[in-house]
Subunit: 196 residues, 2 copies
Amino acid sequence: MSKILNNLIIQLTKLPGIGWKSAQRICFFILKTKKSEIDELIHAIQLAKSKLSFCPICFNYTENYMCEICSDNKRNHTQLCIVEDASDIITIERSAIFKGLYHVLGGVLSPIDNIGPEKLRIKELIERINKNKIQEIIIATNPTREGEATAYYLLKLLKQYNIKITRIAKGLPIGSDLDLADEMTISEAFEGRQEL
Amino acid sequence: MSKILNNLIIQLTKLPGIGWKSAQRICFFILKTKKSEIDELIHAIQLAKSKLSFCPICFNYTENYMCEICSDNKRNHTQLCIVEDASDIITIERSAIFKGLYHVLGGVLSPIDNIGPEKLRIKELIERINKNKIQEIIIATNPTREGEATAYYLLKLLKQYNIKITRIAKGLPIGSDLDLADEMTISEAFEGRQEL
């Protein structure tokens, strides 16, 4: 195989979720597609790498000094949703259910990977709580072992403040099937049951 | 969402097999990854777009004048494998089963898409057959409706030459399960059965 072709496929397999077959497919798509369209893709990547930085308040990615969520006066500045990564913000924003502000931890506690509280943006969270009138903190870390441990750590840390602390609900995803759910999810769905 | 971020995700969804969720994942991977590594990816794309052209013999992609398969004297120049796209060559080469040369049609016959024989590299195939001593032509178009129609068209066209014409076998893929195979595949597997 041409070295240039082979190298492009190898570079593409470094992207998350892209195996050799997908990389091969994308590689030939790139070869077939008009140069102007591929230049647009490259420009979008370069712009994202050069122009985006962290919002100093919530650590979301932003092209301005402060992100558009933190600088939006129409949002509820007394509600704080704690997420693992900035990508979680996009996912939550697409649901349009939450109108408060975010705080990006930048990961989760993981002793195996040597990630303790000092490697997450917890100091910055405490500073925010001390400086602002926060009424509710919603912990939206993932329902994984590390996400749960991080949620529990935050709960212990934050209960000294006079703030309502909540955790997003765990249960059956909409459109799913009881038959296909694992036991942990079923247990959580029963424990978290709500009166109708 | 930041416009730059949104635009990058939209650009990424244009790639084949990449939906919004995958694009979002790749976008944040790009943001988190070192600039030098992303520059390598961009360079690989730009190199592929600028340095690769079609081999004038088989229409594979090549960074030289002739592709490395056509210019390899150790390969069997009397065997010709006809494929739809250049990407099929990579797939066949990975199996290392075939040691002849290729001919890339550049598509398949598809009346709905207004693709007749004149839009495929069939004239070039005939020229190759007239100029060279070809002993066997293996038709390796996909086992789809269009691929089969193209194979049948080629068979009719080529039977005037004194060349053995074969078609790659259809049947059950290795590691698959009879239970999960469709009726067409089962039929082909029975029709193409071989004595042991």
